[in-house]
């Protein structure tokens, strides 16, 4: 179970947010909402350990995530605002690097199956710089399909996706929740997903 207590974030002189607490149990999805600049992305980065909170802490199964270190990082897959796609590499190559890095299955069959599900199979041999924004986003999201980690942290995953890809991603999230996975995501759209969906509103 992911838990965060009393998180506080200060940027320069401004207090972005304070006293933010949340819990996500297996099979639950947490939808973080709020206007632009309310600190949604920062909160997600804080959950990943990329940003250190001024106060409060992130806990996994009751233990501080900072103590668990790499053990905690092995449990999460993060797809951030940026795609983390190298323009010079092809889609499968990008995915392979990620798989190696995270210890996910890295055989060619799994990788191409993941890309195929997102409709990116035809582009397997071209460098990513010729792809459109939506196609790059799909390639980035293919990481989720090969991930074995129980916690997904997604920053605006539906951005730039067309209707078909949105549906595929919804299915993937749904399936993940049914396998007792956990999802934390931000998006300005409504999330049409059945099951335990919680919402966290961030103030402006």
């Amino acid at each position: 179970m992911l838990e965060a207590v009393d998180l506080e974030c200060v940027r320069g002189d401004r207090r972005l947010f304070a006293g933010v607490g949340l819990t996500v149990a297996p099979g639950e999805l947490l939808h973080v909402r709020g206007p632009n600049g309310s600190g949604k992305t920062t909160l997600l980065r804080m959950l990943c350990g990329l940003v250190k909170p001024v106060a409060g802490e992130v806990r996994w199964a009751g233990r501080p995530a900072r103590e668990l270190g790499d053990g905690f990082l092995a449990l999460l897959t993060y797809v951030g605002h940026h795609n983390a796609i190298k323009d010079e590499l092809t889609g499968p190559e990008n995915l392979l690097v990620h798989a190696r890095l995270c210890g996910a299955p890295d055989d060619a069959a799994t990788l191409s199956a993941a890309l195929e599900r997102l409709g990116m199979k035809a582009y397997g041999r071209v460098p990513c710089k010729v792809l459109s924004a939506g196609q790059k986003r799909r390639t980035a999201l293919a990481r989720l399909l090969i991930s074995r980690s129980p916690l997904w942290i997604l920053d605006e995953p539906f951005n730039a996706l067309d209707v078909g890809a949105v549906a595929t991603l919804q299915q993937a999230i749904q399936g993940h929740l049914q396998r007792d996975g956990m999802v934390v995501l931000t998006t300005h759209q409504d999330v049409p997903i059945d099951g335990a969906v919680k919402t966290l509103h961030m103030g402006a």
């Binding site: 200060v10 940027r11 320069g12 002189d13 001024v54």
Partner: protein
């Protein structure tokens, strides 16, 4: 904390430290002025003429303490920076920030007075000797730490980034200190050590010590004054600062 004795951690908060620093400043400012006056008097009128180096050696009484302080202050800055990084007390980073300009000034004085001494002694303003070069690197490091801090807007990130740089630069301090022993260069070795009898006359030693304490007190005064300014600037949104400003109105 044990129950007995003052609670030192209390002063790790900027709010408690601000008035303490204010009370401490006169205690260092007076000795700084008095000792500098005594030290300069001893330098020019009491200390005897050196039989080998003539009158020019008198600049040593400024040069040596300044060089000591330049290294010592760097270590202090690095220790505060490390505390700021590990324990994350806000005051430590502020102290590190406050010490840097004073340290850079002493480094500059040491290099400058060294040049004045070098001209009559070595016949050159500057020699590419190991100690001179490494002291110059120290000056660059001070400048680098200050420049990195100035370039980053977010104070917390600036604290941590410049703190890390200060820590990396610590490698240089022992190099300066031992450079005279490691490399046989022009710069003379240390004339004072804790264990052996000093190779200089007693009065020269006293002059040197007086000047060192004077500089030390000076460093305290400038750093404390600067840290008070930094505290006010960073805590300007805090209630206690607002209250204090109201009182003085």
């Amino acid at each position: 904390m044990s129950s007995g004795g003052p609670n030192w951690f209390k002063y790790a908060s900027p709010m408690a430290f601000y008035p303490l620093a204010g009370r401490l400043i006169p205690w260092f400012a007076v000795p700084a002025v008095v000792l500098t006056a005594i030290g300069l008097y001893m330098t020019f009128f009491v200390a005897p003429v050196d039989y080998r180096q003539g009158d020019a050696y008198r600049i040593m009484f400024i040069h040596v303490p300044a060089a000591w302080m330049s290294m010592w202050l760097y270590i202090c800055m690095a220790v505060y920076a490390a505390l700021g990084l590990v324990v994350r007390t806000r005051l430590s980073s502020m102290m590190a920030q406050a010490i840097a300009p004073t340290g850079a000034m002493f480094t500059f004085i040491a290099l400058w007075t060294g040049a004045f001494w070098g001209k009559p002694m070595w016949g050159a303003w500057w020699v590419w000797d190991a100690r001179l070069t490494s002291e110059l690197i120290l000056l660059f490091l001070y400048i680098g730490v200050m420049a990195l801090r100035a370039a980053i807007d977010d104070t917390r990130r600036a604290d941590r980034a410049s703190g890390l740089l200060a820590l990396v630069g610590v490698v240089n301090v022992p190099i300066i200190y031992y450079s005279v022993q490691w490399w046989n260069t022009l710069h003379q070795g240390a004339s004072i050590s804790m264990t052996a009898a000093p190779t200089m006359s007693r009065i020269m030693l006293w002059t040197l010590l007086v000047m060192t304490f004077a500089f030390w007190a000076h460093a305290f005064v400038t750093s404390l004054m600067r840290v008070r300014g930094i505290i006010l600037e960073r805590e300007r949104h805090a209630e206690w600062v607002a209250e204090m400003v109201d009182e003085t109105k």
